[in-house]
Symmetry: C2
Subunit: 307 residues, 2 copies
Amino acid sequence: MALLLTPLGPPPEWLRHFKAELPDLEVRLWPEVGNREEIEIAAVGSLPHGELALLPKLRMIASLFAGQDLLLGDPRLPDVPIVRTDTAEGSQSMTETVLLHVLRHHRFLPQYHDQQQRRAWKPLPRLRPRDTRVGIMGLGPLGLAAARTLRDYGFDVAGWVRRPREEPGIAIFHGPDQLAAFLARSTIVVNLLPPTPALRDVLNRETFALLPKGASVINLGRGTHVVDADLIAALDSGQLGAATLDVFRQEPLPPESPLWAHPRISVMPHVARRLEIDEIVPRIAENVRRLDAGQPLVNLVDRGLGY
Amino acid sequence: MALLLTPLGPPPEWLRHFKAELPDLEVRLWPEVGNREEIEIAAVGSLPHGELALLPKLRMIASLFAGQDLLLGDPRLPDVPIVRTDTAEGSQSMTETVLLHVLRHHRFLPQYHDQQQRRAWKPLPRLRPRDTRVGIMGLGPLGLAAARTLRDYGFDVAGWVRRPREEPGIAIFHGPDQLAAFLARSTIVVNLLPPTPALRDVLNRETFALLPKGASVINLGRGTHVVDADLIAALDSGQLGAATLDVFRQEPLPPESPLWAHPRISVMPHVARRLEIDEIVPRIAENVRRLDAGQPLVNLVDRGLGY
């Protein structure tokens, strides 16, 4: 049995972990596909559309990315189960990214940086964590782990999700009807929504206007969640105080984008999450074993929901 | 009995907390001193030199600052006990500041910001916390609380202190002889040393050269700990990767300072610590009660050591 891998990160580390978990598995590194008839599993980040359809014996796809939009956008995607490689514990690196950027905005670092450019020495309010109301859009594995960490740190945390649910110490808002109330109470918004069509452009002129004046936006979801021109207009009008963007409609962000030069936008080159190979490989291996044993797979992607 | 206060932060909040703790105490807000004969206690941040000497009945000075250099630099400082207003638990806001800036440097945010100015999209290594070796210079109440938080977060933490001691999970280096070894293992250095004459200029060309190439420096101690020209030279040579400075030899930092414009220096206007009035007033009140009862004071400043 062979597995086709698109290695993100060092190939030797992938191979070492697969060897330890599944010694009999042959791991092939894209684009060295070899005999396509032998490939039964694909562990992929991004592949050119149509490539997976060329694997006649494919039985399972393990998605290395948290967002399934690239994979599900393949019009010739084979009809085999897709399993996620993240878990309910979330991701250490994504939680760290959320904590870091929420702390930055909580302590007004983007504003201080803007002041530095003008050589302005002006202390700003020093808020307690409980005085900062963070709103997490999307409580999937990544968002939930981050929200719990922020709650435990002492921030006043809310989440916006599709369906009502309970989470101790976190105010849950759900559905389109409660979006306005969620936004109105959030001075820092963190976007970790899944990349589904219904959520495209969800952060736009109208939703920015619902935030408290001077609020911050941190986008760690997808570039398509945010209307860039509306974001810039909201920053320029003072409705938004600052924004941190890790994802963009086009990546790498083109040099001509006005996002680069805005004094209160921090541009990060899509580095929020570190692919934790040592954690991902055992999750893939678990599903490979289940597949071989005829047991139900875990962490299945729901193609209808898009995540 | 009257207490003279230099109010940093909102006076009503000070007065409310003093009223709750010591209802009979008359609190006077500098510079409205009134009859100097009635003032027995001074709770001060910075006062013009010689002012405290004008209070003939002064029995105790409560220092609102963590560093005692301004107070001890008064050549006419009365010979009464000086008590600190911080405690072994450190300061929530200072610990938060250390965590925030260590995370920023751990995740290479200053470098990403520099890249953003050049519209360069270039992901940098995503290190695990255990792969980042943080060195805290000074493990007083503020430094120790921060070091423990960083250790618990997962960073590889060391501390540099005056005398040998033990601290679980933190590598302790002490004295001038072990400074080189401490620096050689630290990729992020956080300065929280006390402002004593012996430690003036401790971060200079020679000590920067002992750090691993590309290391970061975070100065939350005093501006006089760092030789600014040496810092800029070390950044320009690539010996240092980035620096965050909250304190300066002259504050506010003069507009002509080259520190403002350096692409890998983050200038903060001395905002690392929030004066936690609700925590400080009970600490002052505790010593006022002890003074009245003839009991030994707690959290005494050692004038010989300078902290």
